[in-house]
């Protein structure tokens, strides 16, 4: 997993609440058995005017000019500004895979759905919760200022604006550590092999039906 420390990125605003993972990456693309290549189909039904299918070349598909990701001023954005309950619905990790593959490194929203939030950290993507009033402010700023960027400092847990205003955010210590180091959890968990084995041995006695 790619490590995340500091980011200075262009911001793209997606002004709708309850964006679900079906919208982030529609079901037909879930048929892939790979982990990469989902970026061209990120927000497929909103981004293109035609119907997309897996394996299709996307560079010549008709773009929906209304959709924010297609507006030239937001090209190469790395920070997605979003609304409440972002990433709700299906547990598909293809959603963070698609965001990451497209080039998004961080998402700022007033709230996230639990499974999506968790999946982000497994893929070097940082979800940041800021209060609704601050997010409102950022929406207003990004919409009125072309080329609006934010700086994200994960070690200090701070988002800063071009005028130097700073917003603190929380992140769980374990997740922060893994993200800063670019570590996946499996290796870390396997450092506890003795504990897992001891638990399992005990459980075999108290709940033998689980081990039939």
């Amino acid at each position: 997993m790619r490590a995340f420390t500091l980011l200075d990125g262009l911001v793209v605003p997606l002004d709708r609440a309850n964006v679900d993972t079906d919208a982030i990456i529609p079901k037909q693309f879930l048929k892939s058995i790979r982990r990469s290549g989902f970026g061209p189909n990120l927000f497929d039904e909103w981004r293109y005017l035609d119907h997309g299918e897996p394996g299709q070349e996307c560079s010549n598909r008709p773009l929906n000019p209304e959709f924010v990701l297609n507006q030239p001023r937001y090209r190469d954005a790395q920070i997605l500004l979003a609304r409440e309950n972002f990433g709700c619905g299906s547990s598909r990790e293809h959603a963070p895979w698609a965001l990451e593959d497209y080039g998004i490194r961080a998402i700022i929203a007033p709230s996230f759905a639990d499974i999506f939030y968790n999946n982000c950290f497994k893929n070097g993507l940082l979800p940041i919760v800021l209060d609704a009033a601050t997010v409102d402010r950022l929406f207003a700023d990004v919409q009125t200022q072309v080329g609006y960027r934010l700086k994200i400092d994960l070690p200090r847990q701070i988002v800063s604006t071009p005028t130097g205003e700073e917003f603190m955010f929380s992140v769980d210590a374990h997740r922060k550590y893994c993200l800063l180091q670019g570590l996946d959890d499996i290796g870390l968990t396997l450092q506890h092999v003795d504990r897992i084995e001891a638990y399992e041995a005990q459980r075999q006695k108290t709940a033998p039906w689980l081990f039939g």
Binding site: A17, I33, E45, I115, D185, Y199
Partner: protein
């Protein structure tokens, strides 16, 4: 020891190691696997040279991609076929039991787990699927995970996770005739919103919940995720044990007695304190119909499509407006005036035998309306299908003009050939009415099986209590 909630007991009994930083290693008893969210996890194991920690804890089944017709001919779509074949290969390589597409026991993963007794009270159950919350109906801690976590569970039998807050949703009193677990689920989501349970584990309690059958409890817990909660659960009682007893993977003899003794303790202590409490009066719940593109956009069938002008704040106003545009609906239209093009009875929410019986009971020798282009019934498993056929339900459905299909996820998410065309409107017993969920441009209204059957007969939504 202080009073504990059911969730506290499940958490505590699976805690391998508290890491001291808010995270914990939790032991996973049962791992359900399907073809869509597992290939990259198996590939990860292979690349790292790892093996499953306890292969016997996993059970696999292809359900999302499988066709519901002409199954003996195999899967036509080469991309879907490759995904299902990849599951077959991975299960063979890693020694995981799989019910393959043409096995009589194949079905939707959340239907076959309980059906086979792979889901038992007191278990931790995970699956790379958000509707894993279904299994909480058994007094289990069950939740959906992403593919990285699927790999993590395969490799370590554990998850690194954090304890959620606890929420109790109590539904007290008696449900009226024609009001089902699905209506209760939708009414709860309407009351607390799709993010109402975020960060929480929900326990469903109260006399109306105790009155539900196990299948009804599964329907309810299934939709906990639609209220934002990764897990929903119901305390163990006699109904739980009666359902589990005799299932192929359930314990027997002395081991059953040992299990039962522990399972009986899986209830919240009387004076346990929850972080959040919500109470609904069962008598006020009537059959529900969603009108928008989020499960919280729901109303009583007797109501009208709401007016975005009444939404309250500006953000909500925009969301409602956008939803009505997508759904092709005007404010203040009575829900019973909305005509449907297709009807789908199925999904991990509502494809069990009681669901099919409830739909069949509405049909009673009538036929579907001419304007309904397709009404389909997709049983949740091969065994549900067989049982329904033994009861003659298939004949009732086909005589009414419904199609009787093979089991799978089907048009709940339209990964196979079953989908809505742009603009088509569907009465669906599934769980999500998101834009494009049942096919790009498709319009989904979530209802109970009885309400879906009634809509198929009338050609538009009707109040099943009067039908």
């Amino acid at each position: 020891m202080s009073a504990q909630t059911l969730y506290d007991k499940l958490w505590q009994s699976h805690l391998v190691h508290d890491q001291g930083d808010g995270s914990a290693l939790l032991y996973i008893d049962r791992h359900l696997v399907h073809e869509v969210t597992s290939p990259q996890a198996f590939e990860g194991l292979r690349l790292a040279g790892r093996k499953p920690w306890r292969a016997s804890s996993a059970i696999a089944v292809p359900d999302h991609n499988v066709p519901t017709t002409h199954r003996s001919a195999g899967i036509v779509d080469p991309v879907s076929r490759l995904q299902v074949e990849t599951l077959d290969k991975n299960c063979a390589e890693f020694g995981i039991v799989e019910f393959k597409m043409n096995d009589a026991r194949q079905g939707i993963v959340h239907v076959i787990g309980p059906e086979q007794g792979y889901t038992l009270p007191g278990m931790t159950v995970v699956c790379g699927d958000s509707h894993t919350s279904t299994h909480g109906a058994f007094g289990a801690l069950a939740f959906g995970i992403g593919t990285s976590e699927v790999e993590h569970v395969l490799a370590t039998q554990c998850l690194v996770t954090r304890k959620a807050k606890s929420m109790r949703v109590s539904v007290e009193g008696e449900l009226g005739a024609g009001v089902t677990a699905k209506d209760v689920a939708l009414a709860i989501i309407g009351a607390i919103g799709t993010a109402g349970g975020t960060g929480h584990a929900i326990e469903f309690a109260g006399s109306a919940i105790r009155g539900l059958s196990m299948e009804g409890r599964m329907t309810l817990c299934n939709m906990a995720i639609e209220a934002g909660a990764r897990s929903g659960m119901v305390a163990v009682d006699d109904k739980t044990l009666d359902y589990v007893r005799g299932r192929p993977a359930a314990p027997t003899g002395e081991i059953w007695d040992q299990a039962e003794a522990w399972w009986r303790t899986l209830v919240s202590d009387e004076d346990a304190v929850f972080d959040c409490e919500v109470t609904l009066d069962a008598a006020t719940i009537v059959p529900q119909v969603t009108w928008g593109t989020s499960p919280e956009m729901v109303a009583a069938v007797t109501a009208r499509v709401p007016d975005p002008a009444q939404a309250g704040d500006e953000g909500r106003h925009k969301d409602w407006q956008r939803a009505l545009t997508y759904m092709g609906l005007s404010a203040n239209t009575p829900l019973t005036d909305i005509a449907v093009d297709k009807v789908f009875i199925g999904s991990c929410t509502n494809s069990r035998i009681e669901d099919l019986r409830a739909a069949a009971a509405v049909i009673k020798g009538r036929t579907k309306a001419a304007n309904v282009k397709l009404a389909m019934v997709v049983p949740g498993s091969g065994l549900v299908k067989r049982q329904a056929e033994e009861e003659g339900l298939d004949k009732l459905f086909t005589a009414a003009g419904f199609e009787w299909r093979d089991p799978g996820c089907s048009m709940c998410l339209a990964m196979n050939a079953d989908k809505l065309e742009p603009g088509e409107r569907c009465a669906s017993t599934s769980n999500r009415n998101f834009e494009g969920r049942q096919g790009q441009g498709g319009r989904t209204h979530l209802v109970s099986p009885a309400m879906a059957a009634a809509a198929a007969l009338a050609g538009h939504f009707v109040d099943v209590r009067e039908y």
